[in-house]
Every structure is written in structure tokens, then in C-alpha cells.
Amino acid sequence: MTQKKFLDNFRDEIQKGFVSDRISPNNIAELQKYKRKSEIPSMENFYEAIENFENKKTFELEKPSVGYFCNIVPEEIILACDLHPVRLCCEDQVCAQAGEEIAPGDICCVIKSICGKFYGRLYENLNLVIIPGTCDPKTKLAELISPLKEIYFLDPGRDSDYLENAAIWESRYTELFDFLKKRFHKNPGRTQLISACHKTNKRTEIFRKIYQLRTDYPDSINVFDYYIMIYASFFMEIELWNDFAEKVYSQALEKKKTQNKPRILLVGTPVIFPNFKIIDVLEQSGLAMATDIQCTSFGRFFNPVEIDEDTESGIIRALALKNIAGSICPCLLNLEKMANLIIDTVNQYNLDGVIYYNLRLCQVFEIQTAILRQILKQRNIPFISIKTDLGKEDTGQLKTRLEAFREMLESHRK
């Protein structure tokens, strides 16, 4: 789909209408809290990078920056065009409240935070925003923020079947590639694409190491550090991230120690930096998050780009396979495969239970809960579903539930 013209005629009206013009979410204090818990010295790099980002220093780069949401947007194509990809997904209470003005009501809080950030003029330095049509709120989001920014709308469809759609994906991605070339006057080719894929494959390799280490020794890199690393990858330069992560891994190897907490699998909506409520509670109630199946971490990093045909179209197709066919988003992955993935992960790493984390109003996740509960119950896999939002009022209740879950798992172990 080529670039749509969204709401261009009403640009002035929309820009004038909103009062909360500049918001300043301040998460530095929160960041310091997690930094104090960190035991790995190299993690400082990541905390520093996030601090800089929160102070809006990162965008002052020589390269133009392109914002994007979701795994569906191929990061490698942006990298190949010598641009700086910035993943914009955020879960910020302050921004979400500001975003209520644009997107009121029972809407996905991620969309609200994004609206808040855009209308709060936090993303002024972005040159272009690529928005995929993965889920309904994202489709509409493209229109909502179109008066403020240049938008590219990428719609690969919602069918993840390879046979039917591979050609469509390939053509969508090629269109995006051509658009970026024209828009930024760059002329990348096959070699640039390959080197971009090598960069992300390197990241995959490091992530797999960390992932494996955490499944065996969840305390080697604590859960906050883990998610901080993932959050940092949203906006950091990829080579830099790779270097830092490699250092963190080598330091974490020395820290590994066996511990007796129940090891659990966290499935569901992504955990993104300011909203660490769930993992906070998890840590406090004595559970160890060994593995996760979330789009920002597992879904984004786990599959490498397998270049078989190393022609330009072949690489673009490989990217489509990695990002769309291999996606774990419930919009694309069917429930059966999701259940298989959970059961398989639990069996492979010998985990004790599954927490199905559901950020409120993400319907596609919520709608599967009862069926998944039934399936996993038949297989004797302890399962608990947590539905919550960005607010912190229900911390006590969550804690009761997770503690009860822990007690249950401990009694199972005996």
C-alpha cells in the first residue's frame, strides 16, 4: 500500500484543538531504582543510554531517524537505507493520561501513550513514522497522528500463512524499501541489505545466549536488567547494543548461581520500560521469570534472518518470513500454535508455571485466555492469567494472586 493521505485537510484544526501541549514524563527516578538493583557493572551502559533517551538526546544524530511500531516493520530495511530506526512502543502512565485527550475511552493503553507522546511533542525529531496495520488500534493510530508527522502505512494483511501471502509481503516490503530510497535519497542495494541482516543476526545470536542463560539461571541477569536491555534496543544503535550486550553476557556468566524459586514463563503483552509493575510484583512474590514469550523480546530477537536467496528480492522475502510468518503476535499466530509454543517452552526448559500477562484492553490477547487455560490445565501446566493496566492501585491484589500462585507451585513441587 502506498502512502496514504490522512487527515491532511484538517491538520490545523487538530493541532489547535489540544491543550496539553508539552508533557514531561519523568521516569528517571524509577530508572535509578532499578539501576540500584542491578548487579552487573556493564548494565550501566544501558541505563545511561535510557537516561539520555529520556532526556531526548539520542535523536540528535547525523542520521535521519525513522520511528516504527511492531515487529512487522522490517528494521533491517531501515538499517540498510542508512537510517536510524527507533521503535516507539511505550507504556507510560503520564503519556497515557495525556493521550486520553486524543484517544479517549477503553482503548489499548499503548496507543494512548503513543498519542500522548506525539501530541506532547516528544517526537519532534523523527523524520518519518512507519505504522503497520497489525491490529485495529494501530490502523487508526496512523490517522490520529498523521497531522503531526509524515506517516508510512504498511499493511501486510493479517494472514500469516506463508503459501498464500509470501508474494504480497514481499511486494509490500519492496514498496517500503523503494519509498525509503526515494524519500531519503539513498541508493542501498543487496550488500547493504545483507550487512543489515548480519547486524540483526548478530543481535539474535547474543540474545539467544542471554535467553538460554536466563532459562537456566534466572538470577544471573535480573529481570529488570533484562527488560532494560530490551527497552534500550528500541532506540540504541544496533552495533553499540551488540557490544554492550556481549559485555553484559560475559559478566553475567560469572554470576550464575542456582536458586530455588519457582521458574515461570511470562506470556502475553510486552513489558516496556516505565511499566515494570508486573515484574516488580513477580520479583516481590518470590517467583523467578525464567523465560518470556513476548513480541518485544522473544518475538523480535529469537528468529534469525535466514538468507537463502541472496538476491535483493530474496532477502526481502526472508525478512518477511522472519517478521510476519514467524511472528508470535496473536493477530497473526493462531491459537493452536500459541498453545504449542507455550507447552513446548515449558517442557523444554522444565518450567514450573505460566503467567499470562494481559495489559488491559488488548483484546486479541484477552480473548484467548479461557481456551489457553483449558488447554494447559489438561496438560497439568499451572496457569494464571493476570489482567491489569498501567495504574498501580492493584499492586496489592496482584501480589496476593502471584503469592498464592507461588504457594501453589511450591506445593506442586512436593
Binding site: 503459501l163 545470536e205 535466514e306 537463502d308 536467496e309
Partner: protein, 345 residues
């Protein structure tokens, strides 16, 4: 990362050298072995047979300037047009065609057939993916195309599999002609119709070049030879196009591969899938050079050997899920897809 693929390429090149230049390497060994008794009977045309007497230098079948192939000793005769080489009995279609024309008694063919069945039983169609020199040439063409950044043409699986009917048709016609001209009343046609498939096979024009010999590329002496020469050029064009624009499209209609493929489902080498691991990412279907999608489509555990599979194990290699796909040899696991990181101990 691509260990299997690299191993396969090395194996392909080694077998190309062995099959094409093996005659030079093992010449002395063969000559010293001549006096000894062989477990394989010699299969020569009966003395006085037209098919041997007519085909001297410069006839339609021999590449110009070539000496006759080294025969007799198994396993040899990779290709009729490969003048200096050949240590391994390879082209089963040539073998059948020739002996049908000679009307060689079946008992003398049995050792050769048994050897062929044994190899097929053990390895299935691995011949095509790992050894076949023509396939190697085709893969080289694919390599060139990739370097030139030309987009691959993807044919749907059904089209590819239906191509095999063409192969079966050619095979049936070729073997029938070979049988008919072997009959005494039709013996005078032998000099034109001898080995009809070999006369249009792309190897006719490709293989002599390995021996640095000019192939017999223009034989317009009679109507029949003209027809065959033109057909040979057309088939060569088809072959090059099939490998240059698609991947291994030719292999779907190669008659030798088709005979091999009968043993594929019962072969010792088995491709396995653990369905619970699969997240339907489509990597395996995309990487398959034969364009097969069964591995991707199936939703239950099992053995997924297919007739058209050339056992290149590319699917096993690209699968991102640990332990999802694997290769077994008579139930014993050869290898499985492993994650790139080792388990930290």
C-alpha cells in the same frame, strides 16, 4: 551457520571431480585389475553388433576427438559423453537403454541393478542433491544468477510436481525405442536411434566440455540426427533456463531422478518433524530448492520424505526452532537443528 550447505557444496565438487576425471586418477588401478575375476560381468555389445561398429569417431553420439569410454569395470560409466572419466555407475537410464538395445540377458544386469537398489535404499535421492554433476552445473548457474541479483521465479508446488509426468513420458518413449531397435528386424535403425534419450540429454553438450573436448554440437548428416541435434539444443536451453530462473526445476523432470525418487519414501535417510515445535514461519518451504511445502504444511509428527525431495537438508538447516526438524538414518538420529548457542553448563 550453514554447515550442511557448505558440506554439500564440497561434496558436490568432489564428486564432480571424481566422476568426470576419475578415469585419469584410477586408470592404473583399473588396468591392473583387468586380469582378475570381477563380481560384475562385463557388458559389451556382442561382436558384430551394429551399434558398436557404426559408432566410430565423429559419429552422432561420440564427442568429436573422444576415445571410447572406459567400460566394463564397475562402477564406471558416469556418462557416455564423459570420455576420460567415470568410476561410478551413475546414469541408470543410459544403462537400461543400452542394454535393452543389446538385449543383454537380465542375469548379467542383476549385479548392477542390485548395487543401484542398495544405494537408493540407503540414501534415497541423495544422488541428485549431493552428487549429480548435472545438478552441480545447475547449482552453479543458480549461484551466478544470485550474484547478478536476478529475482528467482517461484513456481507453485503442483506445477513442479506435475513436471514429473513429462519426465515419465520421455523415459517411456526412450526405453520403448531402445527395446524396439534391439529387435533383429529393426536393427538397421540402431545407428540413428541408438540411446534416444542420451541424444537429447543436456549432458550431451555439457559433459564433453569437462574433458576439454569439443562436443558434437552440430550433426546434421541425416534427418533423424538433425532432429535430435535440434532437440538437444532445445532441451539444453530448457535446462539452462530452468536452473537460471528457478531453482532445480529441471530436476523434477529428469528421468534418472525420477527412477531414484521411487525409493525416496522408503529410504534409509528420513526427514522428521516434531509438529509441536513448529510455529509455521515458512523458512523451510522458502528455502527448499525443489519448492516443496509439505514440511511446512503438515501439522502432525512424522516422516516427511517426499518423492521429489533431493535430500539437501536445507529445511533442517534453516529452521529457527530447536529440535523441530531432524534427519534420521534407519531410526538413528544423524542431526537435528540446534540453536546457535550451546547450553551453558
Amino acid at each position: 551457520m550453514n554447515k550442511i550447505n557448505i558440506a554439500r557444496r564440497i561434496f558436490q565438487i568432489l564428486s564432480l571431480v571424481l566422476l568426470v576425471y576419475g578415469g585419469y586418477i584410477f586408470k592404473e588401478w583399473k588396468e591392473s585389475a583387468e586380469t582378475e575375476q570381477s563380481i560384475f560381468p562385463s557388458l559389451k555389445a556382442p561382436p558384430g553388433s551394429i551399434s558398436t561398429t557404426k559408432f566410430e569417431k565423429g559419429s552422432i553420439l561420440w564427442p568429436s576427438g573422444a576415445t571410447p569410454v572406459i567400460e566394463n569395470y564397475p562402477p564406471s560409466l558416469v556418462c557416455r559423453f564423459n570420455p576420460k572419466g567415470g568410476m561410478f555407475k551413475a546414469c541408470i537410464l543410459h544403462f537400461f537403454s543400452e542394454n535393452l538395445t543389446w538385449q543383454t540377458q537380465i542375469k548379467y544386469l542383476l549385479p548392477y541393478i542390485t548395487l543401484f537398489i542398495l544405494l537408493c535404499f540407503l540414501f534415497g535421492r541423495m544422488w541428485c542433491g549431493w552428487v549429480c554433476p548435472i545438478g552441480t552445473v545447475g547449482d552453479f548457474l543458480t549461484f551466478l544468477r544470485r550474484k547478478m541479483n536476478i529475482k528467482v521465479r517461484r513456481f507453485p508446488q503442483n506445477f513442479r510436481i506435475n513436471l514429473s509426468f513429462t519426465g515419465y513420458g520421455i523415459m517411456a518413449i526412450a526405453l520403448t525405442i531402445s527395446t524396439i531397435i534391439g529387435m533383429p528386424n529393426f536393427a538397421r535403425y540402431q545407428c540413428y536411434w541408438f540411446l534416444p534419450y542420451c541424444q537429447i540429454c543436456p549432458a550431451r553438450l555439457i559433459c564433453p566440455m569437462f574433458g576439454l573436448i569439443k562436443p558434437n554440437w552440430k550433426d546434421f548428416s541425416t534427418g533423424i540426427t538433425t532432429t535430435f541435434t535440434i532437440l538437444a539444443w532445445l532441451v539444453l536451453g530448457l535446462f539452462v533456463a530452468a536452473f537460471y530462473f528457478g531453482r532445480r526445476v529441471w530436476c523434477h523432470m529428469c528421468p534418472v531422478g525420477l527412477i531414484n525418487s521411487w525409493f525416496n519414501k522408503g529410504a534409509g535417510v528420513e526427514l522428521h518433524k516434531k509438529a509441536i515445535k513448529c510455529i509455521k514461519c515458512g523458512y523451510c518451504a522458502d528455502a527448499c530448492p525443489m519448492g516443496l511445502t509439505k514440511m511446512y504444511q503438515m501439522n502432525n509428527d512424522g516422516i516427511y520424505n517426499q518423492n521429489a525431495c533431493i535430500m539437501c537438508f536445507r529445511c533442517v538447516e534453516v529452521c529457527p526452532r530447536e529440535n523441530c526438524l531432524g534427519v534420521k538414518f534407519f531410526g538413528k538420529e544423524l542431526f537435528r537443528r540446534k540453536n546457535d548457542t550451546k547450553k551453558v553448563s
